[in-house]
């Protein structure tokens, strides 16, 4: 097991190095410069800034500086937000996105699984149809419509929650609902399908024949087996959800990290894009690493093979 972990670790590090290097050079292939906005700046102004940030140096030299800083865990200063370090921005914005994501996750994970189980257990009945109907809606209605709808009903008409911003727990409820609705819907569908597959398995019949009670069969034999294929997805989902939702954050004016991910690329803020890419690269690689380990723990079959 120790050897296996070590190997995986080395592969992970190489992956991160590849991510950093590829994004560095790919980013520089894009024509243009970071100081372009929709109103023109004089060329000499742009030149001054290019010189100041060392962007006129040869590319290999910039790469070495970048790598050197990276080894020290320093992503550099943003080119657009003068004076702000990328580390500082991540430290300030990431927890906000993470909180929103986790809240949505904590809400959607049990609910999605519960709905899936209920739908499967009541297959072909009214409850099944309404849950499936809900999940089709939830998956197909775009987030920004759900968000506007919730804002209209709960903030403007009922005045229960504020329209937007991120200032107290009350402010987080509408965005959390918006963000989780889609994943509840998606998970309901997945869980329902997985449960239906399991219900007709031989070991379930055996359990029934042994005279186990229905809740025991569901808990011990059906859920445990149905949930396994969901685990590898869970890891990636957590990463996805932590990266922040650009749309939800924008609509609710939440100062999360989602917007930086999108805008730094279009505005060619090299240091910011690289910093965020590497940061999330580490996250994804790390999450995969851990999920692989957990997967082995949960599924006895995998342990046997190993």
């Amino acid at each position: 097991m120790g050897k296996y972990i070590l190997r995986r670790l080395i592969i992970s590090l190489i992956t991160i190095w590849l991510i950093a290097t590829c994004s560095f050079f790919l980013l520089r292939l894009l024509p243009g410069n970071p100081f372009a906005t929709d109103q023109l700046l004089p060329t000499e102004m742009v030149e001054q800034l290019m010189d100041y940030y060392g962007l006129n140096d040869p590319l290999w030299k910039q790469y070495l500086t970048f790598m050197q800083n990276l080894l020290h865990g320093n992503f550099g200063t943003s080119l657009k937000y003068a004076g702000q370090s990328v580390n500082g921005i991540i430290a300030e914005k990431f927890p906000i996105s993470a909180q929103l994501g986790l809240q949505a996750y904590i809400l959607s994970l049990p609910l999605g699984i519960l709905f899936g189980i209920l739908a499967a257990r009541h297959r072909g009945k009214a409850l099944d149809y309404s849950l499936v109907g809900f999940s089709v809606l939830g998956v197909s209605v775009p987030v920004f419509i759900i968000a506007s709808l919730l804002q209209y009903i709960f903030a403007i008409k009922l005045e229960i929650f504020p329209v937007a911003q991120w200032k107290s727990f009350w402010h987080t409820i509408l965005p959390t609902l918006t963000l989780s609705l889609g994943s509840i819907a998606g998970r309901t569908r997945t869980m329902r399908t997985l449960m239906l597959e399991v219900i007709s398995e031989d070991y379930v019949k055996t359990a029934k024949a042994k005279g186990l009670s229905s809740p025991q069969i569901v808990w011990r034999h059906q859920i445990r087996n149905a949930i396994i294929p969901m685990i590898p997805n869970l890891g990636m989902e957590i990463v996805g959800i932590l990266m922040g939702s650009f749309v939800v954050e924008q609509i609710f004016a939440i100062p999360g990290i989602g917007a930086y991910f999108v805008k730094s690329v279009t505005s060619l803020d090299y240091t910011m894009t690289l910093g965020l890419t590497v940061f999330f690269g580490v996250f994804v690689v790390g999450a995969n690493f851990i999920i692989d380990l957990i997967y082995g723990l949960v599924d006895p079959r995998i342990r046997v093979v190993k």
Partner: protein, 565 residues
Amino acid sequence: MKRILAAISASILALTAMAGCGTYTSDDNASSSALTSSGASAEDSGSQSASEPMTFTFIGGHPVTLNPILSQSSDDGNSFYLLESGLFRYNENGVQNEICENYDVSEDGLTYTFHLREANWSDGEPITAEQFAYTLQCFLSPDMGSPSASTYYDILNAEAFNNGSAQWEEVGVAVLDDQTLEITLAEPTDDFILTLATSGLIPLRQDFVEEQGESFGSSIDSLQYSGPYTLTEWTLDSSITFTKNPEYWNAENSFPVETITLLKVDDSNTAYSMFENGEVDALANVSNQYLDALADYITIETGANGLMYLWINQNGMSEDAGKVLSNNNFRLALNYALDREATVNAITQVDTPYSRLTLPFYDGLNGGSFVEEYPVNSVPLSGDIDKAKEYLATALEELGLSSVEELPELHFVTWDTTSQKLLCETMIDQWKQNLGITSIQLDQYPIGTAIGNYTSNEYDLFAISLSSSLTPWDALENFVNGGDYNAGIWSNEEYDALVAQIQTETDKAKKYELTQQAEQILLDGSCIIPFYGLSTAYATQSYVEGFGLGGLGAGFLFDQLTVQK
């Protein structure tokens, strides 16, 4: 099933726990009251006593940096206006004295002596002439990389110092004593005071700036305040709070509002809802789709924000395109075929169709505006299709082409925002309808790439706005061959010579006349084509007074702002 229930209740517990350790932007009184304000404000109005400090919350563009040396975004300007005091301050009608109590100009118009008033920083330290000189040194120093450097090239040897070919001691900035600053110019100019008022010349304290280093201006702790407000909260791209600075020299007579909060809300629907709900007092920028809904609250400020231009590269991207585009009649045909009024109505509504280079707010010589006193021949705002067709016929003949079908493919380069795409497509459509030209195609890139294409002249047609200049001739300088905004897409020796003459001309009447001639040449050349003036529509609640854009379009004014909720 019990366990699932347990899991759910556990997750609810976790949620509440998380609420305790929140990442929220601020927990001050302003935020906690935001929730109740929507319900309570209606009843409260009127009962609020006049002595209670006024607060003002608005949604607008957020500063990207408050380091004045590296600042380049116009959104930073509003914050500097509130936080710092320059020698002069722009107001509704023009310019007023700020830290400069009075000034003398030498007879040759070259030497300005500024006498500073007794004024303090928010920490009680005095504001001195030395601090202004230090700021100029920062702006101009070649290793500071300040994008503002060229703003101060009027000062003697400033350009040479910025290029590294002169020492700081040779630059025309001298500190006579703590209260006296002397600036010597290279050439006499009329608008130096205007430049000082609208550019970012604020005092800076050397020891502090050096101590902060790279992080200067990136948070509330890395800034010092000489202006009417201090920064008490700043969450990047989210909210920023200004609190009145009692040390400000004119604190008693101006800036009556105690706290100003600037929020950033990117989604225009959300901004609108917050305004409707009474959560904010003003919107600094109302997007088009809400102009009707907010009609009762809106003020539209015209033109001062800059001009949108159509650029035609006479060299073209390809040799074939260059042949066609270097034909002046062809360019005129394109220009005359555009119906500016219809275009602006279709795409932006608030903006003003325009076909001159000089803006309506420039003063003329005899009390009127420059535009009235010095008319030029420009394209009618609704276009002139007959004339356009004539120009096209002549152009085709000169080029030896029998019909428009033989025209080469032309590339209209732009970036991928909806508004920009709409603008370009509308123009292409008019050329198609009015002239039958079908060979112009739209190339969309991400903005950085598109502007890269612009600076390296990799386009046939391009549309982008420029911020407005302070004087008529400032605008002209940008377009000489090799100037700030003309990297060789248009060359006209007569024009370049005229602009050079304008720069050294001291007789005002003569200068205005030459400006008129140069403008005419530029418009006839039809390579750099003014298209419409950018306007700002802002909305204020009925209880807000004195919030607006200054006449110079430099930024919002707060000095007489009152909020009587």
